[in-house]
């Protein structure tokens, strides 16, 4: 599954990996807002921002082509709307949808691929996101693959009992079987959560995850956030000036 790649990428070492997560989050927000509010000379701006991100990927020692490919996950959805815009007689808008959604996804990917999830979450917490929500998100991510695997096992079991081919005809029976499977999955997940909680209490959980290393916001982090933001803003100003 493709999530493993992200785990591996985020555990690398590079100047970008070493930055404080808050610096990367701040730079990401500036990037996204500058891109989202841009309207004029988008082609030039997009090219500039793409080169900037590619430079970031290079500096983070990530495989450039694989990152570019993965950010393309957003394209099918955007492509549908681009075609709709084209059909409605507004091809420029379609292209801007494609460029903006793709570049935003690439920027988010660059941050997520250079920040391990625990430090990303602690950065978000220090930025003011409610801790409860982040804890829920962390549990979600931790058990996502466990529960998905359970669902895959159930699906395989149903297929092994000929739950697919002939049952296409008997639609209602199959519908009921799928509902039963989901109910069992629900009850099992619920039970698993209770076990997890008891195991955590037994290990002295106090309502917060302890991290091994502390985030510390250094001058270099501030410098990165400032340079990256200024670069994005300067690119936009230059693109708009050139096109004028």
């Amino acid at each position: 599954m493709h999530h493993r790649i992200l785990e591996r990428w985020s555990r690398g070492t590079s100047p970008i990996h070493g930055l404080d997560p808050r610096a990367k989050i701040a730079a990401l927000l500036v990037f996204l807002i500058v891109l989202a509010t841009a309207h004029r000379s988008l082609a030039l701006l997009s090219a500039g921002l793409f080169l900037l991100l590619a430079g970031g990927v290079f500096r983070a020692r990530l495989p450039l082509w694989a990152v570019i490919e993965r950010a393309a996950l957003v394209l099918p959805f955007s492509l549908v709307f681009a075609i709709i815009s084209w059909a409605a007689g507004d091809p420029a808008r379609g292209l801007s949808l494609l460029a903006k959604s793709y570049l935003s996804a690439l920027a988010v990917l660059l941050v997520v691929a250079t920040t391990p999830l625990p430090s990303l979450l602690s950065g978000l917490e220090q930025a003011g996101v409610p801790r409860f929500l982040l804890l829920v998100g962390q549990f979600l991510y931790r058990y996502l693959f466990v529960i998905v695997e359970e669902a895959q096992c159930m699906r395989a079991a149903a297929a092994a009992r000929a739950g697919s081919a002939r049952a296409w005809l008997a639609g209602t029976a199959r519908f009921g079987a799928a509902a039963g499977a989901l109910a069992v999955l629900f009850a099992r997940s619920y039970g698993r959560a209770e076990h997890i909680h008891r195991a955590m209490l037994a290990r002295g959980f106090q309502g917060n995850f302890q991290k091994l290393e502390r985030n510390s916001f250094r001058m270099s982090d501030a410098g990165f956030a400032l340079t990256a933001s200024l670069a994005v803003v300067a690119l936009r100003l230059a693109a708009e000036r050139l096109a004028w």
Partner: protein
């Protein structure tokens, strides 16, 4: 159905982010109340369940399949505040890890699916879950949650100026209706199976409200979402009105004063109406 970045106009995503942030904070506080830490693993694992539920396909006929979206199911089992938190966490993980949905557009997606979708999905169950309309209320919960989220997302795209022809809007509304019926049917079937194996996992609502209140509440939800849709297709009604009145050529001060005056008028009318309605009831 998750809106990526770059689709929404700046006022739209900024307003929805500003709306979503305090609402999620409030929901987080409510979901935690009385449970302390026990709630955290439960909500996380249930979020993972919603992800995994997408692997189990339901046949709709003609060889196509659908899957559970889950907002209403979570609202009925965990309660609306917890369901909103679980859906928010799911949307955030999808935006960050799976590149599905944008980060600036996260507020919009949260409002559509985690806040309004979950509340709209809880409403029918709250109103009729304890009456003999129980099965219908669960079906309506699933259908309404999907329908309202989808219509809101479509309206936001239209307000943001994504060009769509009338035929395109009609086709998507038809698709929304089909997926709403499907979600209702799946939610009902899953909850009925769940009640057979683990009845304690399903919350029981208290019967206390009058049916008239329920009808008005559901009608209000439908009207609001349908109204947003129509408003987004013709967003220049107020502009027309200002064109017709004398305020057209004057500056921003007159315009905003006229707007405030209109708001005050509506507020006064509502106040009067509520006074009259209140007096009738007390008699």
């Amino acid at each position: 159905m998750h809106i990526p970045d770059g689709f929404l106009a700046t006022p739209v995503w900024a307003a929805l982010d500003a709306l979503a942030a305090p609402a999620v904070g409030y929901a987080a506080r409510r979901a935690q109340r009385g449970f302390e830490h026990a709630r955290t693993p439960l909500l996380g694992v249930m979020g993972a369940f919603v992800f995994a539920a997408q692997m189990i396909n339901f046949p709709i006929g003609a060889g196509t399949t659908g899957h559970l979206v889950g907002g209403a199911l979570l609202a009925v089992t965990l309660g609306p505040a917890s369901a909103a938190i679980v859906m928010t966490a799911i949307l955030a993980v999808q935006a960050l890890v799976f590149q599905d949905g944008g980060v600036l557009a996260l507020g919009a997606n949260v409002v559509n699916m985690a806040l309004v979708g979950v509340l709209a999905g809880y409403l029918p169950y709250l109103l009729w879950g304890a009456t003999r309309w129980r099965r219908f209320s669960i079906f309506a919960a699933g259908a309404l949650s999907v329908l309202v989220s989808a219509v809101l997302a479509l309206s936001e795209l239209l307000i943001s100026g994504v060009p769509m022809s009338r035929a395109m809007i009609e086709i998507s509304l038809a698709l929304f209706a089909i997926s709403a019926v499907l979600e209702g049917a799946i939610t009902l079937a899953v909850l009925e199976s769940l009640e057979r194996i683990q009845p304690r996992l399903v919350r029981q609502p208290f019967p206390r409200r009058s049916p008239a209140f329920g009808v008005i509440a559901v009608a209000a939800v439908l009207l609001a979402s349908v109204g947003v849709l129509f408003a987004s297709q013709a967003p220049d009604t107020i502009q027309q009105l200002t064109h017709q009145t004398a305020a057209e050529s004057s500056g921003w001060f007159t315009k905003s004063a006229a707007g405030l005056g209109g708001l005050a008028l509506i507020y006064g009318a509502c106040l009067l109406l509520s006074r009259v309605a209140g007096r009738n009831r007390s008699v």
